[in-house]
Symmetry: C5
Subunit: 332 residues, 5 copies
């Protein structure tokens, strides 16, 4: 039994070691833009040195100086900082909003006892309805899950839904997202169980019901995060500023004859300019990475892992009442 | 059945693709101001070049230098960053405060069973009272809903209220906003149902009641957001600074003969100045867009969509007890 | 029946229109300081030009340059940004902490039925105790309410308290703020009602009790906000910096003969300096305005409006059980 | 009966009036450092002018220029802003975590009735256990309370604990902080009361129990704030930067012959430098003041006031059932 | 009995005294990097002075000027401020998410009475299951606990688990983290106790169950913090910028002949540069220290202390019902 299933980073060491990771790294995210930049930068440099005559050169030098001035005109770092903070907050709140069936599972284990098959079936069905609700809402908001579970038939084949459930689901005609339908079934079955005396007391039914509502709210919250995104104009302002900065660097950082550049090293490889672009572009990529945490990027939440884990948890929770599962109490 | 009803952005791709959206975009929001700026900029440039004589020119050049100095005097980006963050927080909290009847619907489905017409009617009435409460509070705070549902008769015609309910509502004489009146009716009907034995146990009635209080609190919270706005003076400081910056650009960025501008390109189209104005004005528009999220702008919350969706949800929730709606439980 | 009682701003239009408001505006808050500044500025300018001889002038010019340097020494905008954000957060949290009796009113309407006079009286008394608690805590923390309701007799005359209640209140000898005393009476009456069978079940009594505790907590929270203010030293740092900046402007922005000012326009009216002062002073006024939101400024929370509204709400809630108040249920 | 016991600031007036407060003020906190600075500044100035010869002077002038450069090298205001915000957030959260027995008092008043001595004793004992828990946790985390209540005997003498309770407390042998022990006694007495029928229904016992858990959590939270402080390295970075800035000012702001200082006023009293140091040092003092809010500084929370207030509240709450305490209900 | 077990800082004194701490200090964290920097700095300085000839010198001087320019190009402090704030928020939220068994302990003490051995055993077993859950989740996410309790046998030896429990735990075959399994046992035992009448009423069982769910949620939250870390790219941007700044200092701060450095003091020990590096590197170390708060650094949460403390608390809570443990109630 392995203890750790999490694909998280090893954060115990110095940050310096993190600089040499590739997966989900700055380099992986920026190398395309950076390559373009370097190619264009060299091309412009070559043209300036080889193809232009004196007048053209001096005109070009004016443009360089003009672009160079712009580099200090927009306080890019500031607005990137605010934007990244806003995006990161949303990202983490979405992570906290992920629905977990564990609380419902424990409540059911407490209040719906019984080792007979019917009790087991009841417990399993209730928990599967919850997981199905999560599956259905994930299909709506996550490209990765949508790709894996494109039609309801795929959901059935993946084992999250039975055929009969699919029929019932399809039978409801309503022109809105019906991911919460299994929640209704849950209520129906829970009430039935209470009436039949399978729930040991009404306190239990109320507690289970409350946990269901909490589960439902989290699904709905995720859906709201998908419905209402950060206003386009904010993202555009930040993106436009960053890319126009990169573009201004392309020309404004050229090494010109009468400029204030002192050494030829810049011609061959503009070290600091590249670092500066990595800095600004990197921050933009941080935001790009976090604004849609349910996709298929390296850093996105692993929803498939979550759904499969839930199935296993439900299985353990359902069969938790065979006689040998609970250890005896022992005195000191 | 389409899965996705959300008009959200497609955030999976690079931010670069978002630069070419028009709806709710930076360009759509700023093009008027920008056009004015460019026309005036050119006009001033022409007057300077054509109409002024030497002394006037040198006087004008002094003004240009004077304005240019101002451009660095006020740290605009900083205060815009703080202001936008404050506004964005309010905006998102309002989004989270939107009332959804789903939790009440599930509670009712759990605790008020029955396939007979009276049970259905009871369930439907209770849920419609909630939605009516939302409608009434939205009419108060949202221009879009107010426009669509101007009088109570419009609300009746739109099907959110019955005639009898309108009479009852109008019969109450109180000089204050009465959007919570359907909540009182809800309590009355719920108590009646409990006394008649339609609610399976008092736990259920308490749970439904609590969800109603939660729903009521959210409506009230939205109303408070409308009642207490960000202090006018904060908005004025930010607006005044931004527009005085734009105005200073109009003169301070003119290309004058003895200035430190190097190339004539600025005369025809002041590229960087336009980008800088887009940057600052864009941030102001972000705030303008988000400070009143219940209006009719592109980015505003779609309350009509929400109300119509609620009606459909209520319908499904009400009729959820016909025998074939809940799938059978199946073992493995 | 008017829908909207809120004195809020019309935020649907462009921010530009907000620049021309007077009530609660930047101009209203700053015009005194600004007038002083301009008068002193002109006086100094006149003295420099008319009264000083050559040596004195050159000594004055040194002082001007010395002051001018200071203008860039302290990063005022930054610290003002942080301070305003802190104050604004407190301000909004106080707004959210305002106690509303609506939730208690609904709970009582659900669980304490009856159209007879005694039931009505019980409902009304309970709710009035809540409102009285709010009145008493507001008297402690708000100058506006304290002014209107200076003595307990004023509270009685305003109808928030009966004479008998005043006697009871005065009978308690304890050297601490007793605003929560009506809460004790509430508990007493509620228990009495439960014992007499006026509350339909103990679930109801518990729910009402919980809502009372919530109401009490909000009153207490407002009191804590009044008890523990932002540390004086923080406010002093910000105020001192802003005013020393304004003072430095008074001298440092004078147009001197050998200075780097280019045009005489500054002599008559220092446009940009005024805008800059409006900017910094405006931010300080934002904080001054929001740090004590329960006073009598234009932007302060309208507590009298709130208390009067509560009385009306309580009235409606109390009499909500005459037979014609609740509309009949109607099928489709 | 005085309404207001709070030692809070009068925040209704302009911030300008706050500049002339001494208690808890910027001047009180910084005058020592400032006096040192001025004495050293003058001493260095005198040595430079009187004791140094030409070569030494020119060497000293080099050092001055070197130090002056540093003043712009570290963006002090920025990091101070972030640090102060972090500290202020913690400070306020600790204030919100202070435990108040009022909610428990109201719950007990509702559910444990009776005017006989035993009921009174029960109510009083329960509430005193809560206050005792607060006393014990305050002794652990607050120097001021620890000083006043050094030994358990002091606690007994101050009336927060009886002798018998002290014996019981001391009888428990466990090598950990036992401030929560009175909570256990509370549970014991409450269960006893429920079994004896002194609590009117189990709903009441549950509600009282929940409020106790909430009270316990707040005590624990305060203890956690004491256990886990802001990492030392953060505080050190900020402190080191501020004091090295002040030190650099000491030399870098000297008025040297060949420097760019224009007027001799700086020699006698460096006005702006002092203001700047007040600014940065003041912000550091804001943090120093708020990082340990339970001490004995002017701005620290007045825990003794709180404990004494609680005793009075408990007294009122205990004796709230003599027949004349609750006013009669009166119709309109 | 010692009152204070917390290894916290003494924050009552001036921050100046904190500068001389070594444990967890800036110096301890940065001295390695700083030593490297100084050695390299001197080496480069020596090579420049001794080994280079005129042309090489002038080439080197160009490189110095080139690097010096970079030092102002990236607004490091800004982005470090945002990053540190983000990390510090996570760090504190993890601290608040630490699970404490105290609330469950009090609930059990209230609702599961009895001095007989079976009651004691039941109470102890329930609480040990909670602590075991904490142990198991800590093993997953904390290196320190994992090191101490590497195998389940170690957990048994440390007394957190019995042999029988280990067998039961190992008997469950599921390919996911099963730290919540003791929670299932808890539910089983609690239901058993309720059925046997050991819990005095179902209210109690519900309250205990709710506290268990809360405990479980906190364990899960800690696990989520371990699962989803701050995106690598954000950390890389910040780290890369800081170290490239240090590297640029290495060359750009060299004292060259034709540079604008004025005094030779810089050659022997670059005071201000070292302070500046301490400043930026210190902030990075703050983040490095706080990003993984469950490790073995000086500032990390002391989980072993926590687990041992819990064992003691559970012991006291279990045996809290011997007759002499609760003091008698005494009148005034």
């Amino acid at each position: 039994m392995n203890l750790k299933k999490t694909p998280g980073l090893d954060l115990k060491k110095s940050f310096l070691t993190l600089l040499f990771k590739w997966r989900g790294s700055l380099y992986k995210l920026c190398y395309r833009e950076l390559a373009c930049f370097l190619v264009l930068f060299c091309a412009i440099s070559l043209i300036y040195r080889q193809a232009l005559d004196g007048d053209q050169k001096s005109f070009f030098e004016k443009i360089v100086r003009y672009c160079e001035k712009y580099l200090n005109m927009v306080p890019l770092s500031f607005i990137l900082g605010f934007y990244v903070t806003t995006v990161a907050t949303r990202w983490w709140q979405q992570c906290l909003a992920l629905p977990w069936p564990d609380r419902i599972m424990l409540s059911i284990a407490m209040y719906i006892p019984g080792c007979d098959n019917e009790s087991k079936l009841l417990r399993k069905t209730l928990l599967q309805y919850c997981n199905l609700m999560a599956v259905l809402v994930f299909r709506t908001i996550s490209e990765a899950v949508k790709f894996r579970l494109n039609t309801l038939e795929d959901v059935v084949n993946a084992g999250f839904m039975t055929k009969a459930e699919m029929e019932c689901f399809k039978a409801v005609k309503a022109d809105c997202n019906l991911f919460w339908l299994p929640g209704l079934w849950f209520c129906h079955r829970l009430r039935e169980a209470q009436v039949q005396g399978r729930v040991i007391d009404p306190f239990g039914a109320q507690l289970i019901m409350r946990e269901l509502l909490e589960f439902r709210s989290r699904c709905g919250l995720l859906w709201v995060y998908d419905w209402v995104t950060i206003p386009l104009v904010y993202t555009q302002v930040v993106t436009l500023s960053t890319y126009s900065f990169v573009f201004a660097c392309l020309i404004g950082r050229q090494n010109i004859d009468n400029g204030n550049k002192d050494i030829p090293i810049d011609v061959y490889f503009p070290v600091w300019t590249v670092l500066q672009i990595l800095f600004y572009l990197g921050l933009l990529k941080v935001a790009e990475n976090m604004i849609h945490p349910l996709g298929e990027d390296d850093e996105d939440f692993n929803l498939s892992f979550l759904l499969n884990r839930n199935v296993k948890v439900i299985n353990v929770g359902t069969h938790a009442f065979t006689s040998d599962m609970c250890p005896p109490m022992e005195g000191d």
